[in-house]
């Protein structure tokens, strides 16, 4: 059943012959001829892209290029927008997440999302992280304690929060709130983390913490990050995909994209020759 597969991952796919991406790591997410429309307006055109497992892929491009729409397509966040329509496939471990039998709630458990603006619930720090677990039916206090601690540790917030788990999440600083949202996303055990400009509203120190965190998390998660900060993309990602006017212009190892991009458009964009 699709639900269970999306909770546990498709076992068969792990051993199947997935096309290898250039870096030699098998793709966790495989996008084929993906088109996306808001009503009659097409915003993504024939996107073909492989996102390797346990790596960070940065999506860059000018505003309105479709990178956020693309990001949101990976956990079907666009579904709720009236008139939104997708064509083509986005597969996770070989399973098309736009197939009719896919349980979207289960999908979103596997594919967590962190937004530009941190959005903690007006609850305690503990309850923010435990929220998804409680929704998922976990009531055992010991299990909750354990997962909350583990998630906060992974999000590099435990040391700052452990003595005030009962305090309101809204009392945390902006950077801490963003890490709390990451902890909340991690608590339900995702395999993929989508991040939409996760540090753009933060000061340089909080930004650095988020970047360090991304660096740590990629050992266990497949991460896709949208960023307008070119240097951030260069610092945190293994691969970079450049979008423009809804099309994927170029994708490659981040080092290659930032030193010797193949496409003139990519070069012009990352050197700030247009914007």
């Amino acid at each position: 059943m699709a639900t269970m597969e999306f909770v546990q991952g498709t076992r068969a796919a792990a051993g199947s012959a997935q096309p290898a991406v250039s870096s030699g790591v098998r793709p966790k997410i495989d996008v084929k001829k993906f088109n996306f429309f808001y009503g009659s307006a097409q915003v993504l055109y024939e996107v073909d892209l492989e996102l390797p497992e346990k790596q960070v892929t940065a999506l860059i491009g000018p505003s309105g290029c479709g990178k956020s729409t693309f990001l949101r397509s990976i956990n079907r966040m666009n579904d709720t927008i009236p008139g939104a329509r997708a064509e083509g496939t986005i597969s996770i471990d070989g399973r098309d997440l736009y197939a009719p039998d896919v349980d979207v709630v289960a999908l979103r458990r596997r594919v967590g999302m962190v937004f530009q603006k941190s959005n903690p619930f007006p609850k305690t720090i503990f309850e923010n992280v435990a929220y998804g677990l409680r929704i998922g039916g976990i009531k055992d206090k010991r299990v909750l304690d354990e997962i909350v601690e583990q998630s906060l540790r992974r999000a590099a917030l435990w040391d700052e929060a452990k003595d005030r788990l009962g305090a309101s999440a809204l009392a945390l600083s902006g950077g801490q709130q963003q890490r709390l949202c990451i902890a909340r996303a991690l608590a339900v055990g995702p395999e993929i983390l989508l991040m939409d400009e996760p540090a753009s509203a933060l000061d340089p120190i909080a930004t650095q913490k988020i970047e360090e965190l991304i660096y740590e998390l990629k050992d266990n998660f497949t991460i896709v990050i949208v960023t307008h900060n070119m240097q951030q993309a260069a610092r945190v990602s293994n691969r970079t995909a450049f979008f423009m006017l809804g099309k994927l212009v170029e994708v490659g190892d981040t080092n290659a994209i930032f030193m010797t991009p193949k496409e003139k458009l990519t070069e012009d964009y990352i050197t700030g020759r247009f914007g």
């Binding site: 070119m230 240097q231 010797t260 050197t271 020759r273």
Partner: protein, 223 residues
């Protein structure tokens, strides 16, 4: 879009070209000092070297500031990396011209060993390679850079020929040895000047094409 960065890049290019002109002048004068046996010219070249050293530091400073402020990427990054590598290469070439002058001063204290034939040809070839390497850099001309690199073997051969001839003098009469050795050094200095031009040209190919052709692909793929 006009970028503030373009002005910085232009300024860096101008500094490098000014340094290149100073280095070319040192080479020209070192050749004159040697061929015309003119110690005064040799001393001028030696004295001028500190200006070139100062220029090297200025360019270094400018380049590091550019990286700190602009965080260049792609072709901009390759330009800055090229500038950082060309700069010490030019300074080293100037040092070699200075070395030629030091040997010239020593040679001028004794009678001329022999009419110079191979060494002037070698010196002109090295000088031309330096000029062309700077032209290739200014124009972003990878084809010219490759043509200059191709001349390196020719220069190596001339150095070898010059050495063999000087060896015959050394074998003939031990009184010739010190002068012949000094001229051998001079030959080697010009060969290394040509090597410097070759290194500059390798960086020009990297700048223009993003390809690393250094060490002629003998070391395999790096990462």
């Amino acid at each position: 879009m006009n970028r503030h960065f373009d002005r910085d890049i232009e300024q860096l290019k101008e500094l490098l070209l000014r340094m290149g002109a100073m280095v070319e002048d040192s080479i020209n004068q070192s050749i004159r000092a040697l061929l015309e046996r003119d110690t005064a010219i040799a001393e001028q070249v030696i004295a001028a070297d500190s200006d070139i050293d100062r220029m090297e530091l200025e360019i270094d400073q400018h380049t590091i500031e550019l990286i700190a402020k602009m965080q260049p990427a792609a072709v901009d990054l390759r330009f800055v990396a090229t500038a950082m590598k060309i700069n010490p290469e030019l300074e080293r070439i100037a040092d070699l011209a200075q070395d030629v002058c030091e040997r010239a001063i020593e040679l001028n204290r004794e009678a001329q060993l022999k009419p110079l034939i191979d060494i002037p040809r070698l010196a002109r070839a090295a000088q031309e390679m330096v000029r062309q390497s700077l032209d290739a850099f200014v124009r972003g001309d990878a084809a010219l850079a490759r043509a200059v690199i191709a001349r390196d073997d020719e220069v190596d051969q001339m150095t070898e020929d010059s050495f063999r001839e000087l060896l015959t003098y050394m074998l003939e009469d031990s009184a010739y040895i010190s002068r012949a050795i000094r001229l051998t050094f001079v030959g080697k200095y010009f060969e290394r000047i040509a090597d410097g031009a070759t290194n500059i040209c390798e960086m020009v190919v990297y700048l223009v094409e993003g390809k690393v052709i250094k060490h002629a692909g003998n070391v395999g793929e790096v990462r």
